[in-house]
Symmetry: D2
Subunit: 399 residues, 4 copies
């Protein structure tokens, strides 16, 4: 008997996941492979992918458009969490994985499969995200990861595929490993593996080089309701539109490129390039609106919460009880994070130049240096007496 009877395979249409189909059946004794391709706004044509799967031996080929849920249920909470892994990466790929896992599990349950499969290798973060998410959603399903075990080189993989009618890729494969969806692109491998070398311009698609951006700045206004972005320049946008609009606007001004040395969960450092125009602008704008509408202690404490949230998501623990508790914290803080942020886009810079909110905690009569100042200056003396008392006692003790 094989490792599983019926498998739902996460499918991209590329050679690697295509080869998984005959491999699972031939080598691991799987009887039936159903493929599932998720439309996350990666821009591939999905009809051909569908056919490709069937030709490669799949018994069923599912294509599911999850763009709306992707933005609403995964990207927007991440914006509320100001989620930037290691202060830089807005989690584009990491946010997609738990959603794909969710529809894989749903399909497995619907079609009576006893396993999930994916094409990840053993060195990345995505395998962890798939495996742990599936375990969280349905721990009775097996998880198969053929590419983690087969040990075939790229050439061997292609040759193996050709034996089962999977055509070799026509164009020479990119030297880079790329993942793309609505939230951005991640680019790694090739010359990028040298942390000292500047990334070549050719790797970017969503963002212009600064030299090629308009010579005029552009102002945009982003409206938020309870921490969720809802309008651009005063016009309500549905979640997918909103991201697309901002990718367009910010990308045109060269905004959203990231070049970083990143710590992977599996214990190694990797050099990663991202472009993520909408997410970068949205997180910046959201943070700024929070600076107007959250108290100091919430803002400061939330930073630690955000870091932990971001690490959990990066590390594959989207569906976990700690993540749920952090969600509850964050959700509570967003109650009054409504208002508008004005952003100037220019030459790679997204500069917040204004912000306003009905819930503002900025109090002109307390903040002003003008004559209308209402602040009780004499209170400061008492405050400083108490504030400095432990230090004073400690210093006295020292003498």
């Amino acid at each position: 008997m094989g490792r599983a009877k019926k498998v739902v395979l996460a499918y991209s249409g590329g050679v690697d996941t295509s080869v998984c189909i005959p491999y699972l059946k031939q080598e691991w004794g799987v009887e039936e492979v159903i493929t599932l391709a998720a439309d996350l706004g990666q821009g591939d044509e999905l009809e051909p992918i569908k056919e490709k799967a069937l030709k490669s031996g799949a018994s069923e080929s599912l294509v599911i458009d999850v763009k709306d849920s992707f933005v609403k249920d995964y990207a927007f909470p991440a914006i509320q969490a100001n989620a930037l892994y290691e202060n830089r990466y807005p989690l584009g790929t990491a946010l997609a994985r738990p959603l794909i896992a969710k529809i894989l599990v749903e399909a497995a349950e619907k079609y009576g499969a006893d396993a999930i499969a994916h094409g990840c290798t053993g060195k990345g973060n995505d395998q962890v995200r798939f495996d742990v998410s599936c375990a969280a959603l349905n721990p009775s399903l097996k998880i198969l990861a053929p590419a983690r075990e087969w040990g075939m080189s790229r050439e061997a993989t292609i040759a193996y595929g050709e034996k089962f009618g999977i055509p070799a890729p026509v164009k020479k494969s990119s030297p880079f490993s790329i993942d793309k969806n609505l939230l951005g692109r991640s680019i790694e491998a090739g010359v990028l593996e040298d942390p000292a070398a500047e990334p070549p311009e050719e790797i970017y698609q969503m963002t212009k080089a600064i030299a090629d951006t308009p010579n005029e700045s552009e102002y945009i206004e982003i409206g938020f309701t309870k921490g969720i972005p809802t309008t651009v320049n005063g016009t309500a946008k549905n979640p997918v539109e909103l991201i697309e609009t901002l990718n367009e606007l910010a990308g045109n001004h060269g905004i959203g490129r990231i070049d970083m040395i990143e710590n992977r969960l599996v214990g190694i450092k990797s050099r990663e390039i991202y472009e993520s125009p909408a997410m970068i602008v949205l997180i910046q704008a959201h943070r700024d609106l929070e600076s107007l509408t959250l108290t100091a202690d919430v803002t400061h404490y939330k930073r630690g919460i955000e870091d932990t949230y971001t690490k959990l998501v990066y590390n594959g623990l989207w569906y976990s009880p700690l993540k749920a508790a952090l969600d509850a914290f964050i959700h509570q803080t967003q109650e009054r994070v409504s208002g508008t942020v004005r952003v100037k886009l220019f030459k790679g810079n997204a500069t917040i130049v204004g912000r306003w909110s009905d819930n503002t905690l900025y109090t002109p009569d307390l903040a002003t240096y003008g004559a209308e100042d209402q602040f009780d200056h004499k209170a400061a003396e008492g405050f400083i007496y108490v504030w400095g008392l432990p230090t004073r006692i400690w210093a006295q003790q020292d003498r």
Copy 2:
């Protein structure tokens, strides 16, 4: 008897601190006022200041150049701590206050004064920084803050000064309140008190507007030794030179402007504009070098340490036992943070495009997707089994 006999007053040469001299003597019965002006690279001419103090009634007028110590002992540790208050402000003013307090206390001890005085009002952060720093360094000294109590308007202050021969300022006073030193400028008040309004271009001095910056990018290389910046483009620089050079280079490309709503220690929000070219570039470069030379757990844990460190410094607790313990933590982490960071300066952007170090923890043979990969892919399965086990058990329990 007055509030103190002999006072050392922190002196800037402006009307407000000049008026403090007769005020302390006339109203508070101080017998002798010694002024102390610290040269922090604010660019004022200090000889005239010296004279002004004497004319205003000071018995002694001290001017002390502390630029070198300012950078070495205050700015550089802050760079090692990646200190950005509320993720934005590199603490230019906050770092100067404990140093001024230190030389005030030293002068008081040398000249046998029984009090320190400063001209801060009751609403800012600086009063706290002065008062608590002085208490930490010599808790037996009194601290006098006449402007916190006198309640005179600007006009009344000038009029009071004129009675004692302090000339009214010749040029119309700026609508902005500005503090400047080697590390940067802070600008507040006036139209900036409206958080919705874009700051006018005229307030900036150290940074060009992006529209006016060169149309060619410029590459620089910054060398660090144990977390301390030591070279620019391969040339060793002393601390003050290094900051000056980078202010020049980065300011020329429009780098280092900050516009933020900030939470003051005294319980209110204020809108602050900063320009701090060198510090912004240095902290960015330092963080990047850390990403190459620190382990993941140190990097992640240090973020919390950095936030606390930054808050302590902002809140006036530079000389405090918690700050000392955080210093010890940070110092220990910097042991291997040596290497070089390559930065591209262009149109307001300081982009790290390369980094290298003899102490790099980036391991090409483990990171690569190429044939030379040494990573044990099979280990991943065992790792994920253990990593995901709590989530799996929790999910099983749920069913």
Copy 3:
């Protein structure tokens, strides 16, 4: 015109708060004083208190029984938070203050008062808790704290009261300052001000000395539902009963005494003695049940949340947005914290000797060393490879 027109005064019946009534009217020009005494289970007779207030000049004397809300809405959330200030003090007094503030504000709103008053001095934590809670609940109300300003000694206070018909206390006043309610007693001052001296036995009322406790141990079982204690020895108890029962049971075995040096919010250390039998047993039992029903990461992360929660409550920020967000986090974690804990009470020790839950995450088949072991031992090797990799790389780099 006086400081306020109509005031609601927090009233205990003691000399100090009684004197506040004429003082507010005579010295601060208040027209009408309404007193409010909260029944928190402190065991005083409240009818005489009512009369005393009227005799001392109050226009209205309210007595409100809030015991049920005190336990349900204040103590039980604190148990879910395992709230022990500085790892020791279960917040008995600190939890009462926001509830008293709430009914003060409600009374002020009902009776059209423009101010709240309390009898706290300027050195304790309670003034902060009252003032900030009232500000949070109704920022338009003034807060008056006569004892913070009047500067009268105990003798002067009594003499002042006698002028207005307030009788001097008949029995010699205790050398200790004591606060008591259903959750416990706090005892300070007198000989306790020497941190080196052992507290005298006479100060305790709720707990027996160990030498006097039964020579037989007693087992009890406490049942929790979603983190809330609901049963004792299998019998459902309403909140107040449950606390009373456990105070009785645990106090009889000498459990719940605390002797600590505590850091007050106002910058000083104080020596505090508490006795709090029920709360100590409940928090211990609750923590133990969490060890069975929460995942490791939730347990570990929640510790930091608990510390912050506890500090906020101690520091008077019960009604604050950060507290609300922490509540949301904690509430989410308690979903499965249901089950029973078996506790052995004996000679001052409350020892957990057994625990069980339908939601247990303890998995005998994975935990066992017996033949039925289901744990994948080979996975450990892969796990350790990845877990130790950063350390290994760091060590290699070092050589």
Copy 4:
């Protein structure tokens, strides 16, 4: 060729580690096995162990007394860190592992071995502690863990040993798995695997049952210098003596038993019983002395540091850069933690009843309620104004 040529094996003298000797040689092709037994005060006779190893086929049998270093370099820093894993377990076993790893590596380097071996199975924490510690100290050494792979039952192991002249254990093996050293005993397995069942009295050796303890309390005084315990009842003790003395004194009063559900690093919960009299008393006393000599902010912040420190040690990261940085923090805080703590030992309770220090930060003149009070009560009003301001603004905004 075998997995290694020459191996240094961590050796206890028991059947399991004895069997490793022939197993490594026969099954894994190791040419030479050197055994190393560390004397950590576990109380076994070590001469017979030495012989046993040679009879079982070891080429060399080392026994090293490391008790002094164990206490000084491992236990004492843990006391300074108040290290209690999950707030309960004082790390007795966890602290021993990095020290054993250190002498294993030293022996390997001295004898030219190319590998280290240990007898841990794949489910515990100790394998991680050995493997990662060895990797940190000498990443070029291989690590062999035969018991993790061999999959033999207890019976099979004994039978395998008998083939190579290793005698079967004479007395029926304990149903419990026990680890013991100077710092305490850990007991698991058998009936303890049921978290609902009370542990049987027979498992304890270092602590009396409360019913059997003296009916008179006993007072002891422990002196600390910079956070290190140095005296008992005024008499200087060397580290090993001090631990032995306190084990004796506290154990006699039934102090130091722990019964807990613990989260292991490998993802499962286990039920663990510990007895650790000296460590429990010392950590309690040390914490109390800190409450007298550390400022509030250091005390509160250190708690988070302590939790992280404790987790790192539990999780095998004693030799790691994050641990080193935490050490630096903790070391800095201990500068003034000198003084004496008076502890009453009675019926399972170690109650701190007094503490004093030349470095005390407890200030009687500020803390007192007596006439000599020096605290500035009026300052409180200003303090509360500022402290409560964010809450007040937030509440006003709400209305």
